[in-house]
């Protein structure tokens, strides 16, 4: 009994450590502007939409937000299109080079985005794709692809291969068996893999800041404006960048654990 109490207290304290700063940011973004500049700040201020409206109406913010969404969507689609077949191959086949591929794809994350995005910016300048959503989205795809492969491989491993084989016994071709039997069972997990890529892309700052100039994504835009922007503006921006996590993590949390399980 005492141990249970101790455990819940610990869990609650750790949760407070995560949630309380999020609460502070939220009231920073939604309190009356004068409350931000009042000292000491009130932890239960009167709320208003003023700061958020001011931020959303600022020059460049709506387009940057739109661009972020487009980049994230391309990233999710591209990394799913490339990563799910690879995840399927890892989950269903044993072949020469399987482990080598696995090790390679995991170790790509050992190479910092810093070393990749700068030459990519130089390439993009030469190809005339600098400062476009494509350059950023493809860089993000390279970053998220390993995670999508690992998650989708763990999701597809969990769907029994027997089901697929049974469908083949009854006359389905292998692709049809995949589409009719495995896919419907795996779709939540595969969508989670795509959602994870979407979330990572929406939050990525370094590559986005190096690969764009006039047409930044939201994080890059906020970063460029950081030193010259007033505090309420910063808080509104940070809140807008933070809020998707509440929705996405809810739907993808159990599938992300696949990253930790992959051996």
């Amino acid at each position: 009994m005492r141990r249970a109490v101790l455990r819940y207290t610990g869990a609650a304290l750790l949760a407070a450590w995560v949630l309380f700063p999020m609460y502070l940011l939220t009231i920073g973004a939604f309190s009356v502007q004068s409350a931000i500049y009042h000292y000491p700040r009130d932890i239960l201020p009167s709320l208003s939409w003023g700061t958020m409206r001011f931020f959303l109406d600022s020059q460049g913010v709506p387009t940057a937000l739109g661009r972020s969404v487009i980049v994230a969507a391309i990233t999710a689609a591209a990394s799913a299109a490339l990563g799910i077949p690879a995840g399927y191959a890892l989950a269903r086949y044993r072949f020469r080079g399987r482990d080598a591929y696995r090790v390679t794809i995991v170790s790509t994350r050992a190479f910092p985005v810093v070393v990749l995005s700068i030459p990519l910016a130089v390439f993009a300048l030469q190809w005339g794709s600098y400062d476009t959503v494509w350059a950023v989205a493809f860089m993000h795809t390279a970053l998220t692809l390993p995670f999508v492969v690992l998650i989708s491989s763990s999701v597809l491993t969990a769907v029994p291969a027997d089901l697929e084989e049974a469908a083949q016994v009854f006359g389905c071709s292998r692709p049809a068996a995949f589409a009719r039997v495995t896919l419907p069972l795996a779709i939540p997990g595969l969508a989670a893999a795509g959602g994870f890529a979407l979330l990572m892309s929406y939050n990525e700052v370094f590559a986005a800041s190096v690969l764009t100039l006039e047409r930044p994504t939201l994080p890059a835009f906020v970063l460029n404006a950081l030193t010259s922007s007033p505090e309420p503006y910063k808080y509104a921006a940070a809140w807008l960048l933070m809020v998707p996590t509440f929705v996405f993590i809810f739907f993808i949390r159990r599938y992300i654990l696949g990253v930790g399980r992959a051996r």
Partner: protein
């Protein structure tokens, strides 16, 4: 492995029994891997090679170490390097303890463990820029920390946490921001590792009346070694990339290697110098990986 729809926390033990079938001789798996391999060749291998080449050529196009030479003579290079390493040396153990506590709590599966897991994973979708701004709002002179301390009567005048003259204090705030944001990736890996520990091992320890502490120290921790190693490697690599948090908290008063790289490119238009910083970060990441691999050897035959 259990069915897809079973909540992750209910799968236990996870045995590696779901191995793929017999060796396949056809082309199908290779065709399935080909798109991702081709993509990574263009967007990973090519920039990597080009990045190394950029770093080893001078602005005039000659091969050599000239760029590295100018990097070493860059004012603030040394402090950026030491500050990066100090930050890393503090944040890693802090995160490891936090993540271990979170992972053990989640996998001991109290009521509502799904909720705790959700909360602990939330920062996974928070950008490092957001994290920097969140903690800026806490540590800035008229910020939350000073407000709360003043309201409680602990201090009478605001403390300057983000002082230009005290780099260790700024590093401490960066450590807090990093510990807050990026612990969740370690939690994920550790929960995966804990799930893979067969229950019988802990039950065997129970038979001998082992205390919870001894069970953790002699059973859980050794079996968790592979997961710990993966987590440490991934976190170290990612910690070298932190830069927006540093800009949000420190402005220009403190640099890490990644902010140096970013400034070299975006402010000074020096891709060679930026690439040299990138190569240095990569070398440090590889070195750290090698140290963890050697320092935490995993003996496969001793794992379940």
């Amino acid at each position: 492995m259990a069915s897809v729809s079973a909540p992750a926390s209910q799968r236990r033990p996870v045995t590696p029994s779901a191995r793929p079938r017999a060796r396949h001789r056809g082309w199908t798996p290779y065709l399935l891997l080909a798109p991702s391999v081709a993509f990574l060749a263009v967007f990973f291998i090519a920039p990597l090679v080009q990045g190394i080449e950029l770093a080893f050529t001078s602005t005039s196009g000659q091969y050599g170490l000239a760029t590295f030479h100018s990097m070493l003579n860059d004012p603030g290079f040394l402090s950026a390097l030491t500050d990066t390493l100090i930050m890393l040396a503090i944040v890693l153990p802090v995160q490891l303890v936090l993540a271990m506590a979170m992972a053990l709590l989640v996998s001991s599966r109290p009521k509502g463990s799904g909720f705790w897991l959700y909360v602990y994973m939330l920062p996974l979708g928070v950008s490092e820029l957001t994290s920097g701004i969140v903690w800026y709002s806490v540590f800035t002179q008229q910020g939350w920390l000073n407000s709360i301390l003043t309201s409680l009567g602990v201090i009478h005048a605001p403390v300057i946490w983000l002082s230009y003259s005290n780099s260790l204090l700024i590093i401490a705030t960066i450590v807090v921001a990093e510990a807050w944001r990026s612990t969740s990736i370690i939690v994920i890996i550790l929960v995966g590792g804990l799930d893979a520990i067969p229950r019988e091992y802990l039950e065997a320890a129970d038979v001998f009346y082992a205390s919870p502490w001894r069970k953790f120290w002699h059973v859980t921790l050794p079996l968790l070694r592979p997961a710990l190693r993966t987590a440490l490697i991934l976190r170290t690599v990612l910690a070298f990339e932190v830069f927006a948090t540093v800009i949000a908290l420190a402005g220009g008063s403190l640099s890490v290697l990644a902010t140096k790289a970013n400034n070299a490119y975006t402010q000074f238009q020096e891709p060679h110098l930026a690439a040299a910083y990138g190569v240095l970060i990569m070398a440090l990441s590889v070195l750290a990986t090698a140290i963890f691999l050697a320092g935490l050897p995993v003996r496969e035959e001793r794992l379940p």
